[in-house]
């Protein structure tokens, strides 16, 4: 048996692989395709399918290559890749080993859109709290759009139809092409400088994503965010969403929609005014009726019909009050009187007459004592005087003389007490009780001294 005619699967696979690798065209393939079945493996390699309308090819991009990609590949994304075709032996599967990948065409715009959206969102430019309210009754509207085309006509027609009172000023700008963004930015800034507008409509009519692109540009988005005037964005059709729409204070689906959002409807307002006026009539009429009803009710009341009843009642009340007042006054007076009486009694008890009497008595006593003392003193003195007088009487020499004693004196009156005082012949005088004898000493006999 010529069994050596038969190859193994791996031999065949290796053969095919060698064939493929020898082809220099397959070594460097430039491919334009859409990604599907994208799988970013946890180890870093990317596995996906590249396809177009009719065919598909398995692809792998190793982590060493995909690290440098600036965007995140996703299903449906159109990409431009460069790589080589080879065989994955275990599966016997040919696949593209991708070395570089770029977003392609609309894919790139889509990417830029998503990336800018994400960035501005993180910065808070879409914050609902930052949105300015659109005034209810604007008087001047600025429209930043192309002066030609359907958009401006739609806007103007709608505003005129709904609210012809408002003034509209158009900022003619380029709405597509390279210079569109700067043109729109300049107009928004100019409108803010002029400071005349209550609201701005910024937008354009429908178009391809490339044509609408300037409303996805960062500069336009930032100008809208910075605007002090509330902005209504109106770009393209219902289904077109641009970055401007997210940043604007209100997004309108279309330019016509923007005009509707910017102004109230005159007809609705007239209806509103009429409704309010009717309410005014009705409420006031109701109030007047209500007050009239109350008045007639009051007129019919008991008090109004029989006023004398009211008076009588009051008269009686008054009498009662007067009576009560009298009672209270009497009671009050009696109380005060009693109080006064009590105070008088207490006051009487405090009178000084008693002290005066006491003092008088005391004084009398002192007089008496003094009198007694004086009298006793006087009697004592009298007695002692008498005694002294008696003594004196006893001592009186004249008394002695009565008993026969005499007193001899010299001529000069000096009493002679000793014989020695005299000499015979001396003239002396002898005094008796009833007169004096003139005598002459005849002799002296000295006797013993008594």
């Amino acid at each position: 048996m010529a069994t050596d005619r038969y190859l193994t699967v791996s031999a065949l696979t290796r053969y095919i692989k060698r064939k493929l690798e020898m082809d220099k065209h397959l070594k460097e393939i430039w491919l334009k395709a859409e990604i599907s079945n994208f799988n970013h493996h946890s180890r870093g390699h990317m596995y996906f399918t590249l396809k177009d309308d009719r065919s598909r090819i398995q692809a792998v991009m190793f982590s060493g290559n995909n690290r440098t990609i600036k965007f995140k590949p996703e299903n449906g994304m159109n990409v431009l890749v460069k790589g080589e075709v080879s065989i994955y032996e275990p599966q016997g599967q040919y696949q593209l080993y991708v070395q570089t990948m770029e977003p392609d065409g609309i894919g790139a715009l889509y990417l830029a859109f998503e990336q800018l959206k994400e960035k501005l969102h993180r910065e808070g430019l879409f914050d609902p709290l930052q949105k300015k309210a659109i005034p209810s009754y604007p008087s001047h509207i600025g429209v930043v759009t192309s002066p030609t085309g359907a958009a401006i006509q739609d806007i103007l027609t709608t505003i005129k139809r709904r609210y012809p009172l408002v003034k509209v000023s158009i900022f003619p700008v380029l709405v597509q092409g390279e210079k569109a963004a700067s043109s729109v930015v300049a107009a928004i800034e100019k409108a803010n400088q002029l400071n005349l507008f209550d609201v701005l409509i910024v937008g354009r009519g429908g178009g391809s994503i490339e044509e609408l692109w300037c409303f996805n540009e960062e500069a336009v988005a930032r100008a809208i965010a910075k605007s002090k005037i509330p902005i209504i964005s109106a770009v393209g059709h219902e289904t077109d969403y641009t970055i401007s729409d997210f940043v604007a204070d209100v997004r309108a689906a279309t330019p016509t929609g923007a005009a509707e959002l910017a102004v109230p409807s005159q007809t609705e307002l007239i209806n509103r005014v009429n409704t309010l006026t009717r309410s005014l009539h009705m409420v006031v009429k109701g109030t007047v009726l209500e007050q009239t009803r109350r008045l007639s009710q009051v007129n019919k009341s008991y008090a109004f019909r029989y006023p004398e009843q009211l008076l009588r009642q009051k008269e009686q009340d008054l009498d009662k009050s007067v009576e009560k007042l009298g009672r209270i006054m009497t009671y009050f007076l009696n109380q005060k009187k009693e109080g006064l009486r009590q105070i008088r009694i207490r006051f009487g008890q405090q009178h000084p007459q008693r002290q005066i009497d006491q003092a008088k008595q005391h004084l009398q006593l002192l007089y008496q004592r003094n009198d007694r003392a004086m009298r006793k003193e006087w009697i004592d003195k009298q007695t002692s005087f008498n005694q002294v007088l008696d003594k004196l009487t006893l001592l009186n020499p004249l008394e002695t003389m009565k008993r026969g004693y005499a007193i001899a004196t010299e001529k000069n009156g000096q009493i002679i007490k000793s014989t020695k005082q005299t000499q015979p012949g001396d003239l002396i005088m002898v005094r008796l009780q009833d007169g004096t004898l003139d005598c002459q000493v005849w002799g002296i006999e000295e006797g013993e001294e008594i």
Partner: protein, 82 residues
């Protein structure tokens, strides 16, 4: 919401007039408004109502204008798309 506005009502913007009218109706509808006050409100409300109607129906045929690069205004004439 007094009669202060009587003489100035001609100068009110539509928005102000409308707001005042709405406030007056609201107040009246709340009830408990004394009669004299209600009458005052009513008179003022009717003035405002007239003013609003006038402002709404008086179409001045506002002309659209163009703001040129110097920030000045020019009349706007609709052009056909190029």
């Amino acid at each position: 919401m007094t009669n202060d506005h009587d003489d100035k009502s001609a100068e009110l913007s539509f928005e102000e007039a409308m707001q005042q009218l709405e406030k007056i109706v609201e107040k009246l509808e709340e009830g408990d408004v004394p009669l004299e006050k209600a009458i005052n409100y009513y008179q003022e409300g009717m003035k405002l109502s007239k003013l609003c109607s006038e402002k709404l129906t008086k179409v001045e045929g506002q002309m659209e204008q163009i703001v040129n690069e110097q920030g000045t205004f020019e009349p706007f004439i609709v052009q056909e798309e190029e």
